[in-house]
């Protein structure tokens, strides 16, 4: 049981929580995540630790509402308790001064990218953030990203805001323009796949943070497995970050769709109840 000490809306669909978790705050490094469960019948879902305050014994989570479990979490209020919270999990991000780093994110990947952008900037990198969304209303965390980036490029599929085009279009503008030392990408698997194909063409080392389906998050089940460089890896313990050029995104895409039917049913069930 972990108490929510503050709740702030970044947008209608994105909530920032500060949660009491002194041990996790102390042990975490950038890139680590936690598993969160809301309610006795709740699902365990992975969330990146966006920030931590060792002194106050708190961690920060930035949650985007996508389905049942993230909605339940977002519905919690100040003073409520998160039923279960465990971590920090996964391997930490390798943060150092690489030179110029492009952070390309979109959709579900925007929230977990924020701490990476912040950490990369702090380490002295020139950080260029490419932030993509389908349409203007779905552009989130723009302000927070801007504060921590040297430059930010906003892309929308329909051109309703920023530049019209996909994340890859924004990224290619940068790649054509200047020398990039590292690309970080988080987002829907299909997006990361095309980012990876693009940076491969430009020979830019690329790290993708994979958001596979997880159950325990501790290496116990294998639900999160992906093929990297021809070998099966568990994203929760070996990752979540991998060399994007080695990741079999087609397999990952296929595995992510595995429970789509059940997820949709669950969403319908819970919305018909409320």
């Amino acid at each position: 049981m972990n108490k929510i000490l503050s709740k702030e809306y970044f947008s209608e669909k994105v909530v920032k929580f500060v949660v009491e978790a002194p041990q996790i705050a102390k042990a975490r490094r950038a890139g680590h995540f936690v598993m969160v469960r809301v309610g006795k019948k709740g699902e365990r879902i992975p969330l990146t630790i966006a920030d931590a305050d060792v002194e106050r014994g708190t961690i920060t989570l930035v949650v985007q509402r996508t389905g049942v479990s993230s909605s339940k979490l977002c519905a919690l209020e100040l003073g409520d308790y998160i039923t279960d919270l465990v971590g920090p999990l996964g391997q930490a991000t390798r943060v150092e001064n690489f030179g110029t780093v492009v952070c390309a994110c979109g959709g579900v990947g925007t929230a977990p990218m924020l701490p990476i952008v912040t950490a990369m900037k702090k380490a002295g990198n020139k950080v260029i953030t490419v932030l993509a969304a389908r349409t203007k209303d779905l552009v989130i965390l723009e302000e927070q990203m801007r504060e921590n980036s040297d430059e930010i490029i906003v892309m929308t599929d329909d051109g309703s805001y920023g530049t019209k085009g996909l994340v890859t279009d924004g990224l290619e503008t940068v790649l054509k323009r200047e020398k990039v030392d590292l690309c970080m990408t988080i987002g829907p698997a299909i997006m990361m796949k095309f980012v990876s194909l693009l940076t491969k063409k430009y020979n830019v080392p690329t790290i993708a943070s994979l958001n596979t389906i997880m159950v325990d998050g501790t290496g116990m089940c294998g639900a999160c497995r992906v093929t990297v460089g021809g070998k099966t890896k568990f994203v929760c313990v070996d990752g979540p970050e991998f060399d994007a050029h080695q990741v079999d995104f087609d397999e990952m895409l296929m595995r992510l769709g595995g429970y789509r039917e059940q997820e949709r049913e669950a969403m319908e069930r819970s919305s018909s109840k409320s």
């Binding site: 042990a27 019948k41 919270l85 116990m220 089940c221 294998g222 099966t232 429970y259 059940q262 997820e263």
Partner: protein
């Protein structure tokens, strides 16, 4: 144990002739109807003996001068001592005998592979009779005590102020915690998951081991003063080093063998193929098969489980209960070599599970969505016995068959979870990732403060061995700590 020479025992032995005792037919465990139970998820298959049946079965035991059955029990339970108390109706006294050696009799009575342990050494077998149903009797006594509401909370020594940490709350951790708290230690149990109980909770299904049975034991430990901390991963949330710094004088690592193995064959990452850990965790820990649970689970119609152990049986019987129309076990040796408990195999067959022996998957085929649709099986035959004495399976060249499936559960074994070893480089491990300890004392060879037992030391083993390790570790850690001060 002088018990056997007490007058009541001598009289009891004289009351019925040995021949008559051995000639009595072994009791049959009352069980749910196979058709009915194949459709319900959480009703226990075995219903338990009535007092009458238990007393009748207890009569079969000869109260041997040299009870060979005890040699078969990894923790040497005083078997005739508790059985003879059943025969005279002293059930609570029988429970006390069990508890002298076993921390979890209601669990072991249900899940021990008795046919290979205690019952395999019963004298009756020498006379070509069925062995005494020791497991059923053990379960009866433990259940009787629990249901009587007269569970004796063991006496606890006054607190000695010494803090002890336990990593993991499976049978090894629980039995260790119980013994240490009895000796007056302040025991903190850290568990990675959001439930206490280890495999007893997230692995073994309700239809074989109801959660209530385990919870009573956990509540008992709480009542004795053991402190449980869930959602705490040693090696991640807190390191072993930090535990030492926080003044824990001894650390018992009982983190089990939770890492699933895969076969690394073509198509194994297709949708619908998963480890038994994933499948059973979804169903047992997350209650995914219930409508009100947020966690999803596949309810396959044509399900294959690869493997022949208890985990494989639990998985396939769960799949059946979730609505599988075709449910099969695929195993590369024959039924004789299957490591599962005999009773589980029997129950599985009664429920209509198919057994496809001498076959091994070599490839999976999927549809355009990446969902598994077929498995390609290699036919096998048994070759010469290997080092372990088991005949090893060898492929029959060119003989394969393709079977339609929509869900495959891979249940070919587990390895120790590497989290602790990775974060504690000083800890000596084997090439299999198990921790190296002194076999007698369970003390780590490289870090004297650390003791370990159960599956993290043995690889995948049994509940009773894990429990026995916990008890031995408690004894030797206590001696070690007292020896130092």
């Amino acid at each position: 144990m002088t018990g056997r020479n007490e007058q009541w025992r001598i009289d009891l032995r004289a009351k019925i002739k040995a021949k008559e005792r051995t000639n009595t037919i072994r009791v049959k465990m009352p069980e749910l109807d196979p058709v009915y139970r194949g459709k319900v998820r959480d009703e226990e298959v075995n219903l338990g003996l009535t007092a009458e049946l238990a007393m009748q079965e207890a009569q079969r035991c000869l109260d041997c001068a040299k009870p060979t059955c005890m040699e078969g029990c990894p923790v040497s339970i005083s078997i005739p001592d508790f059985i003879k108390r059943i025969e005279v109706g002293e059930f609570l006294e029988a429970a006390k005998v069990l508890k002298r050696t076993s921390a979890l009799p209601a669990v072991c009575g249900r899940v021990c592979p008795q046919e290979r342990q205690c019952e395999a050494h019963c004298i009756h077998l020498k006379m070509k009779k069925e062995p005494v149903a020791i497991g059923h009797l053990e379960r009866f006594v433990a259940d009787y005590e629990r249901e009587s509401g007269q569970i004796s909370v063991p006496e606890v020594q006054p607190p000695n102020g010494i803090k002890i940490a336990v990593v993991g709350s499976g049978p090894a951790g629980l039995s260790f915690a119980g013994d240490m708290v009895k000796m007056g230690y302040e025991v903190h149990v850290f568990e990675a998951l959001h439930e206490i109980g280890g495999v007893l909770k997230y692995g073994i299904p309700e239809f074989r081991l109801p959660n209530d049975v385990v919870d009573v034991e956990i509540d008992n430990l709480r009542a004795m003063g053991v402190k449980f901390f869930k959602n705490t991963i040693i090696g991640k949330t807190i390191t072993i080093k930090e535990l030492e710094e926080a003044d824990f004088k001894g650390i018992f690592v009982a983190s089990g063998a939770g890492l699933p193995r895969f076969m690394n064959i073509k198509g194994e990452n297709l949708v619908g193929i998963m480890s038994s850990n994933e499948y059973l965790t979804r169903v047992n820990l997350m209650d995914a098969a219930s409508d009100d649970s947020d966690t999803p689970v596949y309810k396959g119609k044509k399900v294959a489980v690869i493997g022949g152990g208890n985990t494989a049986m639990d998985s396939i019987r769960t799949a059946l209960r979730l609505g599988a129309e075709k449910a099969m076990i695929v195993y590369r040796r024959t039924e004789k070599e299957m490591p599962a408990r005999a009773e589980e195999v029997k129950h599985a067959k009664e429920e209509g599970i198919e057994f496809l022996m001498l076959h091994n998957p070599i490839e999976y085929i999927g549809d355009e969505f990446g969902r598994v649709t077929h498995m390609v099986l290699q036919a096998m035959e048994l070759g010469e016995p290997d080092a372990s004495g088991r005949r090893s399976p060898i492929p029959i060249e060119g003989k394969t068959r393709t079977v339609e499936v929509d869900e495959v559960i891979v249940s070919i074994g587990v390895s120790p979870n590497p989290l602790i070893a990775q974060s504690t480089p000083q800890l000596e491990t084997t090439k299999w990732g198990t921790l190296v300890v002194n076999q007698e004392t369970m003390q780590s060879s490289s870090m004297p403060k650390v003791f370990a037992g159960g599956d993290i030391v043995r690889g995948g083993a049994t509940v009773i061995l894990a429990m026995g390790d916990g008890r031995r570790a408690a004894k030797s850690m206590d001696e070690w700590i007292r020896g130092k001060s």
